[in-house]
Symmetry: C2
Subunit: 727 residues, 2 copies
């Protein structure tokens, strides 16, 4: 009869699409820790176990950093190679990308380091020449075909093996980190398919970046590696600490910015971020950055393509264009979010959503067809950003400056502002304007398709073009590359509403502390403007679109409602379903479970007094009764269920009772009915609650769940409360 | 009779040495915000007010940054001048410091830029020559006299005008930020006196730094500027957000590290650090850094004296000495904390504490007497650190390399490891070893004296000497300056147990991302070693020594006790003092207040049911009753006090009742008696509670206050529970 004192397997776990109870998880971990600490005094083996347990977190961080860094390096190298494959092949070895191929060749000159005999464009291979309209058309055709092939492969793989691999993943990771369960979202299939399809999607030339998905990839690594350690495998809260660190790792390898990555995780994605996690994230982010650097995917011993070093100082008056760029970024961010959400909603609600493969192919075809003629859109977006960020020196080899090399005027307008601008500069500006419009429009339909797609790079590209465009001939820019960078920060800020982390990431890309002020001015303006036009960032907007139960920690709840206005049951509803601590039979409880769909029931002293004893989870109750019926002799429908400490003596003929105090939470959270909702929301956020009971003068009155709060918040903001989908 | 519906002045405020209720403060602020938002729709004026209210936070940050930056610049300039005053004066103008004096002179040569005819040492002025034993003694004497004068002035000013200005202030700021009230600690007198005495203390040559006190100065600025804005003046929680940002500002100007400052505030001092504060802190830290840079106190357009740029890479094998330095730093940190705490305890308990002025004078005399003969201790500690951090180039002008210039061997051993080391290098090493021992011992007695004193610089000096000492002739160091820096980080880490913020501060001092790894390895090792030897950092140790009610958020509470073990009343105690919601007269309540010293009373339905209605603060109750007796007609001792919503009809002859529902907190926090204490501690930390009521099956059973928790934690850690002094 005391069989149930042993833990029943399954009790205390969660179902898919459910919210975890942070308090319970953390308490469980402390119990485990206490047990190990007590045991460690008994034997040397236990002491060793205790030490290895203490260091397992660091080991895990090391592994996550190594794995994510290696994967990021692989993705970088493959994506570069496949991007170049759209234009031609290297005869020295098919596995060389364009730059690598010409770098190894003796015949490459410094002036035209992009041209070498070993690198053959498709036209050269097929028709033998690279000149004339026919060759151009042939190259064009091959470019479009490869793009279509890559994107088709990407979308097919996602559809066939891992539907969760699409998108950037950051909205879902935010939701998971806030304590939601989405099984398989960070699994090995998702990791594998996301890694492969990310390369394909980036190489296809679609207007998307690999930075957001890299965060997802890093989180998958973190989640998978958690399975190696019991401490993290068994505890949802501890696992989320690892995932927070993994998110930092993702940004660290995406931008070569370990500190920025940690701040991104802290500011943007994490929910529960204790100081211990801060330190460990930093460690993991550094390990990943150095792993990536030792792989050296770009051959420049930098972690990203668009690392720059500026040297000339900026002038105080330049703050005005920086702030104007901030305004542009804010407006673009707000516009982008609205347009993208409208498009995604249309995809969800109309027939458009039924043909994901076709959609991807059409968008790829349009992108490739429009991108090829313009050299700024034909190159990969990170290359474009790299060119825009760089200032043109006299011997600069980047294409933007090469272009000007012909007439020597472009250079002069940038580096030596005294000389007049030549006609080529105007051509470049005109091409950049076209590229700007193209990127702005195509990104709206691209983000959210069923391929892995990040937003950072396209947003940055838009801002970088706008910033560099500001420095058109005639304008008095000291450092045009800085304008591009400030513009990129502004646009990215407008879309994601990142602040500190964005500035720090950009700072880590430049290396000079003095450029923080322009970046900060633009980011701040951009955030204010964007917030004035629409309160949510793109990730929050997508979370809301998908109806995830995410309790935003940034937004203040500012309505003057009370707990009694939100709690269930409402005034007109039937009373709350409760279980009495000693008065119900197995049958009664089972019928209560069958009749209702609540995920838990309060246990009270008696129906009359409504004095609260504890709270029991539906899942635990179902599992325990099932288990008792199977394994415990004599437990039948008529058996009484007791939640009391001591079972009172039973009448002689009654069936044996079922003692369930063990599965009851003896410390349920309660608030009074007069508690202001802002305080309740605060408690839910800070403690990570699933539910909270409402009392009045010591009597149980109702219950508030996280979903109730989210619905109430949606209602207060004049949104559809039924848009919140899960528990 | 409804006079009391208006707020009574004083209700909702706190007494000195009391803990604030974060939940109530934040709720108050949301109410205020809501009111402004509602009003803003009514008139243009109100809309303007609402906008100005929204931007007042940013304006305040700007002002804090400007003020703290300016003050830091002033402190830097005056301290340099007064430090040099100990050695001599500039005849061109008394207000020039040594470097400035010789910089302006035409006769200064590059080789000996420290020597110029305008700068006269005291011996030259008094006896006419700088050579010979008599001149040496004269300089020695003047050095000691000036040091004694400065330190005497410092300690006298502190004693006479602002006793709170002593020490580093960080332990107290941590406590204040956690929600404790210490009136005057951040007031204008403290600011004024601390600024002046900080300059005096640093100039006196005592082994202390200005970095910690700068945090205190910045926090004073923040607190004083809060008075300009109602939003921050009236709300203790909002004010603490400003103080958190001000702490970041302090570190930002102390080390020229805005990002490091923000992380320091987040990691080390702040308690409640929402993301909004993160962004604002960053802004304020940047403003302060740029204000300081435009003041340019060191004439090198850097914010600190010891900014360095390393260029040569480090070798992977060098990680071994870095880790060894970490171990040294950890051991030193643990030793320092123990020794310093033992010394401070002795000061508190013996007669030593009665003669603070004498103590300061004696320590200054000893410091000055021992410091003068050794050139490495004679110079100011930040100059020493600067010299140790710098690598010697062939044309380097710093004294450490100048010294070697004579024989050209010291340089060779550092910059060109092939050449043999000369005898002068050994002399330098010998002097540095003496300096190390001296700094290690004197810092223990210096920190905690009644003058402003920071720990960062002396700790860094110890580490820097040890690190540079590692690179003694024969050792194969690539960059000796890097060793000094790693050593400094290790020692600082061992003493303060900072992690991320320390690495980022050091990173901002160097400028190369690649030096993060050595810094991290040393910091991590140092923290582990120090934690193994003693769990607390110096600030926590001082908090505990002073008995402040600080609930450490880093330490996990790992004991298996329940709320019922901690709550008052204990089993043998008389029952909890409660007020019934409608059954007590003014007289009864007054006698309850007189008899007990509790800071609040639960309100229950009746003594029999013990069902909880709310909680009323003692201070609010006293003020309200006093106020009612004065202003409300007919309220006498026999008047009944009602906490109910509606007052029941009174018998005809009874005195008018007193309605006090308005001052009652209708949403007191409750936990059940079976709640594990780790969860209770978590709730207290995360929500910032003052007290929490304990119930059992819906009946009120007891109360847990923050002090009870701290006492319990002290007891569990085998410390004296009565060491917690305040409420």
């Amino acid at each position: 009869m005391d069989l149930l004192d042993e833990p029943v397997p399954g009790v205390g776990t969660y179902e898919d699409f459910n919210t975890i109870d942070w308090v319970r998880e953390k308490s469980k971990d402390r119990d485990r820790h206490r047990e190990i600490a007590t045991k460690s005094k008994e034997s040397t083996l236990a002491l060793m176990k205790s030490i290895s347990d203490a260091f397992s977190g660091w080991l895990l961080m090391l592994l996550v950093g190594l794995m994510a860094g290696a994967l990021a390096g692989g993705i970088d190298i493959s994506a570069r190679w496949m991007t170049d494959l759209k234009e031609g092949v290297c005869l020295n070895g098919l596995w060389f990308n364009h730059e690598h191929c010409c770098w190894n060749s003796n015949k490459t000159t410094f002036q035209e380091r992009d041209k070498c005999p070993n690198w053959k464009s498709w036209a050269e291979l097929i028709v033998g020449t690279n000149d004339g309209p026919f060759a151009y058309i042939m190259n064009y055709l091959m470019y479009v075909c490869w793009a279509l092939l890559f994107s088709f492969l990407a979308v097919s793989l996602v559809r066939a093996f891992a539907p969760y691999a699409c998108g950037s993943g950051i909205p879902e990771i935010k939701t998971i980190l806030s304590g939601f369960i989405i099984r398989g979202y960070l699994g090995k299939w998702t990791l594998m398919i996301k890694t492969i399809t990310l390369v394909l999607a980036v190489s296809s030339g679609l207007s998307l970046g690999k930075e957001g998905p890299l965060v997802h990839v890093a989180c998958c690594c973190g989640n998978i590696l958690c399975h190696l350690f019991t401490k993290y495998r068994r505890n949802e809260a501890k696992r989320r600490e690892v995932l927070s660190a993994a998110a930092a790792v993702g940004v660290s390898v995406a931008f070569g910015a370990p500190i920025g990555g940690v701040l991104f995780s802290l500011e943007e994605v994490s929910y529960y971020f204790p100081l211990k996690t801060l330190w460990r994230s930093f460690f993991a982010a550094l390990v990943a950055a150095f792993t990536l650097r030792s792989i050296n995917p770009f051959g420049n011993s930098r972690l990203v393509l668009f690392y720059v070093e500026f040297h000339s100082p900026w002038h105080l008056l330049e703050l005005i264009p920086f702030i104007l760029l901030g305004i542009f970024g804010g407006i673009w961010g707000a516009f982008f979010i609205r347009a993208n959400i409208a498009w995604c909603r249309r995809r969800k609600t109309t027939r458009l959503g039924h043909y994901p493969v076709l959609e991807v192919l059409v968008v790829t075809a349009v992108t490739a067809l429009l991108a090829f003629p313009n050299s700024y859109t034909r190159m990969s977006t990170s290359e474009l950003i790299s060119e825009l960020f760089n200032d043109c020196g006299l011997l600069d080899s980047s294409q933007l400056c090469n272009y000007a090399n012909v007439s020597v005027t472009k250079i002069s307008s940038d580096a030596l502002p005294d000389r007049p601008a030549g006609p080529d500069v105007y051509t470049a500006m005109w091409q950049l304007s076209l590229a700007l419009v193209f990127k702005m429009l195509i990104t709206v339909v691209t983000f959210g398709m069923k391929v892995p797609s990040g937003l950072f790079i396209p947003s940055m590209a838009v801002g970088a073009i706008a910033g560099r465009g500001w420095c058109s001939p005639g304008a008095d820019c000291i450092t045009p590359g800085l304008y591009a960078m400030v513009g990129a920060a502004a646009c990215l800020g407008g879309v994601t509403r990142m602040t500190v982390s964005l500035v720090v990431i950009m700072f880590e890309l430049t290396g000079g502390l003095e450029y923080i002020v322009p970046l900060m001015a633009a980011t701040m303006t951009s955030k204010w403007v964007a917030d004035a036009l629409g309160r949510e960032g793109i990730y929050e907007a997508h979370i809301r679109l998908n109806g995830y139960p995410f309790l935003e920690s940034k937004e203040e709840f500012s309505h003057k409602t009370l707990a009694m206005d939100v709690m269930r049951p409402r005034r007109s509803d039937p009373p709350l379903s409760v279980i009495t601590q000693d008065g119900m039979s197995v049958e009664e409880v089972e019928s209560l479970i069958a009749e209702t769909s609540y995920s838990g029931f309060p246990v009270v002293v008696s129906h009359e007094s409504q004095r609260l004893v504890g709270f029991v989870q539906r899942r635990d109750l179902v599992i325990s009764i099932e288990n008792a019926r199977k394994r415990q002799e004599g437990v039948v429908s008529a058996s009484r269920i007791f939640f009391t400490e001591y079972t009172p003596p039973q009448p002689p003929n009654s069936p044996p009772p079922l003692k369930l105090r063990g599965i009851m939470d003896l410390s349920p959270f309660t608030v009074t009915d007069h508690t202001a909702m802002d305080i309740v929301v605060d408690i839910f956020r800070k403690l990570g609650l699933r539910q909270c009971l409402v009392t009045h003068n010591g009597r149980l009155l109702g219950i508030i769940t996280k979903k109730d709060i989210l619905k109430h918040m949606a209602q207060m903001a004049n949104r559809d409360p039924d848009s919140i989908l899960f528990n």
